[in-house]
Amino acid sequence: MPVAVEAPVTYVETQLRRRRRLLLPLLIFLALLLALGLIAVGFALAAAERLTRNRTEAFPDILTHFEHGSIGADQSSGIPFWVWKALPRLFPAEFDGHLDYRAFGFLYRTDSHGRQEDLPIGISKRDFRGVDLVWFNCAICHTGTFRAAEGAERVIVRAMPSNNLNLYGFIRFILDAGVDERLKPDKLIPAVQAAGANLSLIEQQVWRHVVIPQMREGFIQRRSRLQAFLAGQAPWGPGRVDTFNPYKLVQMEMLLDGISPDELHAASDFPSIFNQRPREGMHLHWDGNNSSLAERNLSAALGAGVTPETVDHAAIQRVAAWLGDLQPPRSPHRVDAAAAERGRALYMNACAACHGYQGPDRYVFEGAKLGTVEPNGTLGTDAGRLDSYTEAFRQRQLAELFAGTPFQFKHFVKTNGYANMPLDALWLRGPYLHNGSVPTLRDLLAPPGQRPSAFVRGVDIIDGKNGGFVSPSCTPGSRPAQGFCYDTRLPGNGNGGHTFGTTLPENEKNDLIAYLLTF
C-alpha cells in the first residue's frame, strides 16, 4: 500500500520542506562533489603512492642478485619493461625476428619448465614511480658463454667477459629507436599491449602523455650526446666497450668537438672479474689507472648507467664481496702433462714475474711486476685505450663525481702503459690483449706481423689447440656466418706489441701453450 505523504502541520515546517526541496539539487550536487572529491583524493593518494614508489626485488640468492639485482642504473637510465618487451615486435629486422634480445648477444636462462626467462642476464627491474624500468647491472658485461665444440651445449659462466654482448649494436639500436616513429604512442601502446602489458585505459593515457614522451625525451637526449661519437666509430664487435669516451659525453657532458680524435678509438674487451680480492692494490683497468677495487667498481657502475644519485652502493658491494674469492671454472682443455710441465718452466722464467701463475688448485697472484703498469714504450700494444684516459678527464672525475660523499674518487691516476694482468681464467678470456686484437694464445706468440689481420670474434667455441675461442680469419666488412669480423687495421684495433715469446722455437711455444691452456 502506498504511504501518503503527510502534509506539514505548521508554516515553518512547510517552508523547511520547501527549503529542503530547493536545497536538494544543491545537496545532491554537493554530495556528488564530495563523492568526486573523495574519488579524486583516492586517485591522488593512489597516484602519490605510485609516484613515490621506488622498489626493486631483493634476491636472497647472490647468483640471482648478480644476474638481476638492481644497482640503480634502471632508475636513472632504464627503459620501461613493457617497452623492452615490445621493441622486438616493432623492430623485427634488428632482432633477427626473435622476440628477445639474443640478436645483440644477450644471454637468457631457462626456468625449471624449460621456458626462457623474461629478462636476460645483466638486466634488473625496478618499479619507479609506478612504471617498471629495466636496465643493466654488472652481469651485462661480465657474463659469457663457451661451448666445448660446435654442437656442444652452451655453458653460461658468470664473471667471465661477456664475449657475446654486442653493446655497440644495442646502444645504437636503442638510440635510433628513440627517434623512430614506431615509438610513437599510437604504435608503441598496441605493441606494449601485445607484449602482455594489459594497461588500463587510464594507464594508457598516462603512458601516452607522460611515460612515452619522457622516455623518448631521454632517448633523444642520450642520442644527442652519443650519436655523433658512435657514428664515427667502427662497430666495436661483441665483447667490447669503450669505457671512458661515453663517460665523457654523458656524465661529464663534454662536447665531442672538445675531445681529441686521438682519444676516440678506445674500445677494449670486457674483463673477467673472478678473484677480485687478490687484485686489491694492483693497478686495475687495462691501463692500470686505479688501484682501488671499490672505486673501480663504482666507476664501472657509472658506465652501466647509475648516477651518483641513484647508485645502490649496498647492491654493488654485495656483488663485490661475492666476487672477492670467486673461482673461475677449471680449464677443460686436455693437454700433454709433460709439455705443460716444460711450458711451466718456460713461463715461470719469462712470464710469471709480470702475470703470476697457475698453481695446481688455483691461480697464484705472485710476481714482482704483477699488477704494475708496463710502459707502453716497452709493451707496444695499441695506444687507443691508454690515450682515451687523459689527465684532464681525471681531474674532472676526481672533482665532480660523488663529490662531498665518502665515495668521492681519489685513486685515479694517469698512466703511461698497460697493467700486467693476472691470467686466471685465461681459457675464457680470448681474444687477447686489452683490445681483443689477437684471437688466440698461439697468435699472441707470433710476431705481430704474422698475427691474423682480420678474424671472427664472438663465437664461443673454445679452441683446445691454440687457446681462446675458435676465430677463423675473415674479410673485413663481410658478415661471417657466426660472430663478427674484427679488423686489426682499424684505429684502436691494432694487434701489435707484447712481443714476449714470439721468438721462441715452435716446440717451446707448444709447451708454453700447453701450460697456458691449463689456466
Partner: protein, 450 residues
C-alpha cells in the same frame, strides 16, 4: 531630611503615579489559550503592586490573536475580555498602584505561534525572515496595516473600558512597531518604508487612531528602542541610531503621547536587553521548545546544546556588551531623548540601586524607571528602598535565568544562589498559583434544547 525623589509622585498629563518605580512588562505562560487572563495573572501582578511599585506596565498584551508572541499570554482582542481586565485592574488598584496595559503585536517576532498562528507567516513590515531564530513573515498590505491600526485603537478602548490607567504602545525591542521603524528591518518601498518619516507612519497612525478612539484624557505612552543595534547577527544592518529615535519620540509627543519609555535593541532578547549574563546550561534545556517556531531554531539549539559550539554564540552575544554597564545600560540614551521631549521619560535596563536611580532622576536622565528582573527577585524592592536600603539584601544577579526559563517553566527567579535551598526557590516560584480561582461548573445543555 529632604524628600526621596523616588517616592515623589510622577505626574503625567492624565495620570499621576505615586512614585517613580514602574514594574516593567513581564509575564509567565499562565493565561488561557483563548487569550483570557487567569487568576494566576492577577496573583502575579498583585505581588508587585503589594511590593510598592507606583504602576505596573502589563506584560505584552496582543491586540490581535495573530500578534501573540507566546500563545498562552493574555490578549485584549475581544470585548468580552474587558471584565477580566477590569477585575485585574481592580485587584491592583487596591494597593494604590496604577495599571498600564501594554498594547502589542509581535509581527514576525513570534516565539510560540500556538494553534492560532502556526499555519501561516506572521505579518510584518517585511517578508524577510527574522534573523536570530528564522521566524517567518510576510509584509502586510495597506489594508492589513489599516486593520492593525484599528486593532490597536480597539485595544486601547477596551483598556479604558476596563478602568485601567493607561496604555503603552510596545514600539521597542523588535516587535511589530520596531519592524516598521527600523532601517535595518523595514525594506518596504511604499509609504511605510524608506525614510524615517515613512517608517514611523504606522506608529503615528496608531497613536492618532487611539487618540481618535479614546480621546486626549486617557494615558498613552510609547516604548521605544533608543538604538536598534540590529546587527546581533554580524552581517545584518545596524538599524536606527539615537538621532532617529529622538525624532520619533518628538513625533509621538506631538501626536499625543504622554510619556516615552526608553529601552534598547531591535530584537528581544537582545544582548543589551535585558543586560546581564546568558546561561547556556539553562537555555540548552529550554530552547528545544522553540525549535518548531523558526527555520533557524534548530541551528541555535545545536549552538546552545554543544559545548564546543557555544563559543560561536558566546561571541555573537557578548561582543556588544563590551564596555557597557548592566545597570542603566541605556541611561545616556534616555537622557538624550528626555532632552528633546517635554513629556516624562521612563527608562529600563537593569535598575536596582536606589541611589543610582535617584541620581538618574535628579540629573535629568529620566523621570522614572521600569524594572522587571530586580522586582522578580525582590517583589518588595521599593519597600526595601523605602526602609533606607540602597540595594536589597539578596539582589538580582542579572543571570537572566528567569528569561531563559520562560520558554518552558513558570516565571520567576531561578538564581539558586539567592535561595537557601532549591525547595525554597520552587516554593517562591509557586506563590503565583497561591490564590486559586473559583471553579465554575459549565452549564448543562439538554439534548432537546440543543
Amino acid at each position: 531630611m529632604s524628600e526621596d525623589v523616588i517616592f515623589t509622585p510622577l505626574k503625567f498629563r492624565n495620570l499621576t503615579v505615586k512614585n517613580r518605580i514602574f514594574r516593567s512588562n513581564i509575564s509567565g505562560r499562565f493565561d488561557n489559550e483563548d487569550g483570557s487572563l487567569t487568576q494566576t495573572r492577577v496573583n502575579w501582578e498583585c505581588k508587585f503592586a503589594a511590593g510598592g511599585v507606583g504602576a505596573i506596565i502589563s506584560s505584552y498584551v496582543p491586540v490581535l490573536m495573530e500578534g501573540r508572541i507566546i500563545a498562552d499570554y493574555a490578549t485584549i482582542h475581544r470585548d468580552d475580555f474587558i471584565p477580566l481586565w477590569e477585575r485585574l485592574g481592580a485587584a491592583v488598584h487596591r494597593f494604590d498602584c496604577k495599571y498600564i496595559l501594554q498594547l502589542s503585536h509581535s509581527g514576525r517576532q513570534m516565539d510560540f505561534p500556538g494553534v492560532h498562528n502556526s499555519h501561516r507567516p506572521a505579518l510584518s513590515s517585511t517578508s524577510r525572515k527574522e534573523t536570530l531564530h528564522g521566524f517567518l513573515c510576510r509584509a502586510a498590505s495597506k489594508a492589513e496595516i489599516d486593520h492593525l491600526v484599528q486593532a490597536f485603537a480597539a485595544g486601547a478602548w477596551r483598556a479604558r473600558e476596563a478602568g485601567l490607567d493607561g496604555v503603552e504602545l510596545h514600539a521597542a525591542n523588535g516587535y511589530l512597531f520596531t519592524q516598521f521603524l527600523s532601517s535595518g528591518i523595514n525594506d518596504r518601498t511604499d509609504e511605510y518604508g524608506g525614510p524615517l518619516q515613512n517608517r514611523a507612519r504606522f506608529l503615528i497612525e496608531v497613536i492618532r487612531a487611539i487618540r481618535a478612539r479614546v480621546g486626549r484624557e486617557f494615558h498613552l505612552q510609547v516604548k521605544l528602542s533608543a538604538v536598534d543595534r540590529n546587527n546581533v547577527i554580524p552581517w545584518e544592518k545596524k538599524g536606527n541610531v539615537l538621532a532617529d529615535t529622538i525624532e520619533v519620540a518628538k513625533w509621538c509627543e506631538s501626536e499625543g503621547a504622554d510619556a516615552i519609555h526608553v529601552s534598547t535593541g531591535s530584537l528581544f532578547p537582545h544582548p543589551l536587553n535585558p543586560p546581564g549574563d546568558f546561561s547556556f546550561e539553562t537555555i540548552a534545556t529550554t530552547y528545544d521548545a522553540m525549535i518548531a517556531s523558526g527555520v533557524d531554531a534548530f541551528r541555535n539549539f545545536l549552538l546552545f546544546r554543544y559545548r564546543m559550539l557555544r563559543p560561536i554564540f558566546r561571541w555573537v552575544w557578548f561582543r556588544m556588551k563590551k564596555g557597557l554597564p548592566v545597570e542603566g545600560v541605556s541611561m545616556d540614551e534616555a537622557r538624550a531623548i528626555k532632552a528633546n521631549v517635554t513629556v516624562p521619560v521612563l527608562n529600563t535596563g537593569g535598575y536596582q540601586t536606589a541611589s543610582f536611580i535617584r541620581n538618574g532622576i535628579n540629573s535629568g536622565a529620566f523621570d522614572g524607571v521600569a524594572i522587571a528582573r530586580s522586582l522578580v527577585a525582590n517583589n518588595d524592592l521599593v519597600q526595601q528602598w523605602g526602609m533606607g536600603r540602597d540595594l536589597p539584601e539578596r539582589p538580582c544577579t542579572y543571570c537572566n535565568k528567569c528569561l531563559l526559563n520562560a520558554a518552558k517553566n513558570p516565571v520567576g527567579c531561578y538564581e539558586l544562589a539567592r535561595f537557601p535551598s532549591r525547595d525554597a526557590m520552587i516554593e517562591e516560584l509557586m506563590t503565583i498559583y497561591a490564590t486559586r480561582p473559583t471553579l465554575n461548573l459549565p452549564p448543562v445543555v439538554s439534548a432537546k434544547a440543543a
